[in-house]
Amino acid sequence: MSSLRQYFQNINDGVVSTYKGMMVTLRAFLKTQGFRKVRDGYDYGAGPITISYPEVKDDIPLNSRNRLFMHQEGCISCNQCAVICPVECITIESRKKTAEEDDGSKTPAHFGSKPLKLKLLRFDIDEALCCFCGLCTEVCPTECLVHTPEYEYSKFDRDHLIYDYLNFNDDNPLPEG
């Protein structure tokens, strides 16, 4: 007798839980048909949330960490970013300026406008190696090295992901900062 009761109980459980699950999906379906709620101007995704990516682009927060960019005029060749980088993707070479090379260039205004004694010879960032940890931008004293929200920069050749920030040409175009 009890097994018979169990049999009907199982049927009842199956029907009830299927009904409950279908009601959840039905509610979600109705939300997509113009019943979506936007609370306090912040849409919490009630309704369709899929974005057709290449046509519609998502808003990326301004401080999101994607491709690195270096403002050349701000760099004082302090080498701190290259030292802190855990994957060693930044290569900097610099030497002391000779007397005739000294053109009176100064460090940026927010860094005290001191005379710049080092000449930057090389500043390469290998974006293929970069792990986007953001440690380099934190230590940069002049804030010339920044992460940009730019994320679409894939290339066919891995060598093209090495950005040489001192020599830009057609093969190595200046990324938008």
Binding site: G21, Y44, G134, L135
Partner: protein, 382 residues
């Protein structure tokens, strides 16, 4: 009725069938990563299951020993990429304890909010993919929709969606952006009805219950002798949570319950209870986040910590990450780099239970068991 799951029943009736070796993984979708389980099966019944790990070994410990303390933080977040904030927090807590740093109140509150949000995101992923393994596709989509909100909040706070590098010895790298607290509060209000929906879809669904209840039962003594922790241990009914028992980051200030498996369906220690502990923990995490957001103190987001710390000593620091107790053992010799770093990972221990638990199970239940212990192979292999 004869229990056909009992091992070696063929000898009793004089029948011998040939054992078959099946490779499950490393590309199997329900192993949640690159886990290969070599299964010896007798028909549908499993005679042995040997987890083969190491496909995702990236030398985390050696990498951190060859770099400065702060440079090791990005590597910790790559261990458990699903709950990166909690992994960073554990590493940073160990360094802080070596340096005897005083952490500002605000930094601690931010850490609590962040790590509880991370717990919700991690549990949502775990529950969603578990539903997927058990044949419920809808729950998976809904869970990922809600997880996306958490990732959005993280992206706004620290700039990255998955591998954050947000914790620092002494505090956090950036203060909360203005307005993000309101978004977190809105999120807590948003998530609660959606979790109730998830209960309708999965928890009380009769198909889901019959596939998970009374499957893979791990009793309390067994769990403790293996060294399980986190939801896997609490699912067996043992009340142990480091947030309550060894509070760190000021968890003692918040009012929350430790969720244990009580056997509402099935019995404590089975797959359903391990799953339901995660479900209940999300409600408790929401409670903690609400309290922390209400009482968020003003002040500094980081203490004055040395730029490249040079601690001396040896430390073992544990913290409660979404998958269990994560411990970092650091030996520091006063140099810029740690002399030795060892991570005690909860997933590795959960992986070690696979062989014993899977013996005598049906083949289809292995998927249920693997999903319920919620392992992330990045943390197992490190």
């Amino acid at each position: 009725m004869k229990d056909f799951t009992e091992p070696h029943h063929e000898e009793d009736i004089g029948l011998q069938t040939e054992e078959m070796t099946i490779n499950m993984g490393p590309q199997h979708p329900s192993t949640h990563g690159v886990l290969r389980v070599v299964i010896k099966s007798d028909g549908e019944i499993i005679r042995g299951a040997y987890p083969d790990i190491g496909y995702l070994h990236r030398c985390f410990e050696k990498h951190t020993e060859n770099r400065e303390y702060i440079q090791g933080i990005p590597f910790t977040s790559r261990m458990d990429y699903v709950a990166a904030m909690s992994q960073e927090l554990g590493y940073v807590l160990a360094i802080e304890k070596l340096l005897n740093l005083e952490i500002p109140e605000r930094a601690q509150a931010i850490r609590v909010i962040i790590s509880e949000l991370q717990r919700i995101a991690s549990h949502l992923l775990s529950i969603g993919t578990y539903g997927l393994d058990m044949g419920g596709f809808t729950a998976f989509l809904y869970a990922f929709r809600d997880r996306e909100k958490v990732l959005r909040i993280f992206e706004e706070i620290c700039g990255a969606r998955l591998l954050y590098n947000y914790m620092r010895p002494g505090g956090v790298s950036r203060d909360l952006t203005p307005g993000v607290i309101d978004k977190i509060k809105d999120f807590t209000k948003y998530l609660k009805p959606n979790l109730d929906e998830m209960n309708d879809l999965l928890t009380n669904n009769s198909i889901f219950v019959s596939r998970t209840a009374h499957i893979g039962i791990m009793d309390v003594n067994h769990s403790i002798s293996y060294g399980l922790s986190g939801p896997n241990l609490r699912g067996s009914g043992f009340n142990w949570d480091l947030r309550k028992d060894q509070p760190y980051c000021g968890y003692e200030k918040y009012d929350f319950d430790v969720c244990v498996g009580e056997g509402e369906r099935g019995e404590p220690g089975d797959c359903w209870n391990r799953y339901y502990v995660r479900m209940k923990e999300m409600y408790q995490s929401l409670r903690i986040i609400e309290q922390a957001c209400e009482s968020l103190p003003e002040g500094e987001h980081t203490a004055k910590a040395p730029k490249s710390p040079k601690p001396v000593g040896e430390i073992y620091m544990e913290s409660e990450c979404p998958r269990g107790t994560l411990g970092y053992h650091i030996v520091a010799d006063g140099g810029k780099k740690p002399w030795r770093v060892k991570a005690k990972s909860p997933c590795f221990i959960a992986t070690s239970t696979i062989d014993e638990m899977c013996r005598g199970m049906m083949l289809a239940d292995v998927v249920a068991f693997l999903g319920s212990i919620d392992i992330v192979l990045g943390e197992v292999d490190r």
